[in-house]
Amino acid sequence: MATARTPTTSSDGATIIGESVHIRGQLNGGEDLHVLGRVEGRVDLERTLVVAQSGIVKAEVSVKNAVISGVVVGNIHASESVEITREGRMVGDIFSPRIIIVDGASFRGNVDMGDIANMPARKPSAERPRPTPVARPAAPVAPARPAVTAKPGAKPALAPAAKAPEKPAERAPEKAPEKAPEPTRPATVTPLEPPAAKGLPQKAQKTRVIVKRK
């Protein structure tokens, strides 16, 4: 939340509509828009609309991506994707090739992804739109990330320790070198991870953790 105030985020091209601000009319733009307050009318953006938890958008919306954690009443046309998060509430129709509704979200309206019969099955791991992280509450994601990076290091230490009680003590060090190559393998993977993990949904990050445990 505090990040929303840092001048760096606002200078790199994100528009923020603060909590007490109410805009009525037409809003056009070529940059990300974070709504913490209220916007009524029309919104046309070439980039991402983020409706924060406190945000209310009562408008016809035409954007590239939309991430809804607040309230939207109106129709959304998105050329790329629409995501309604756990806190998001929306009444209206969605026209977008990619639509994500998370458990906890509430939605009433029509969904049109275009020609779904000829749509190729998409990998769920494909990159999610992530606007400049202005008003994103990073709290739920943040704890998962250190866990992922900590795993490769923590694992060899944990594994012999767990084995120790059931086997003779000297077997433990024997096991350790056996496990030793393992940290190198995740280590080679790790550098690739941050860019991918950045764009991934929370859920995918969780599965990532499980994969490492195996």
Binding site: M1, A4, R5, S10, G13, A14, T15, I16, I17, G18, E19, S20, V21, H22, I23, R24, G25, Q26, L27, N28, G29, G30, E31, L33, H34, L36, G37, G41, E46, V134, A135
Partner: protein
């Protein structure tokens, strides 16, 4: 909380109201009613009637300003319209056309 920023490429045609500071780098047409400070930056263009506490203009403003505290026209500011405020500052280099009313 987050200050409101209307970015460079944003165009708003309508009304903005609120009680927090507002920074305009893009374009706003219509009406602005704030109980806090309005900053029109160099790249900002406002074609609106403005009612606010403080205003600082470094960009372009066309419209009338009614301020309860202070209006400051910076050296790179350009304004066409009437200003009504108890304190008015017009910097050297600023372009201004309109009436000034400092009556309290």
């Amino acid at each position: 909380m987050a200050n409101t920023v209307i970015g460079n490429t944003i165009v708003i045609d309508g009304e903005i109201s609120g009680d927090e500071d507002l920074t305009i780098r893009g374009t706003v047409k219509g009406k602005i009613a704030l109980s806090a400070s309005l900053i029109v930056e160099n790249s900002g263009t406002v074609e609106a009637d403005i009612e606010t506490k403080n205003v600082e203009v470094s960009g372009n403003v066309t419209g009338n300003i009614t301020s309860t505290e202070r209006v400051e026209l910076k050296s790179d500011g350009r304004m066409v319209g009437d200003i009504k405020a108890p304190r008015i500052l017009i910097a050297d280099g600023a372009v201004f056309k309109g009436n000034v009313d400092m009556e309290r």
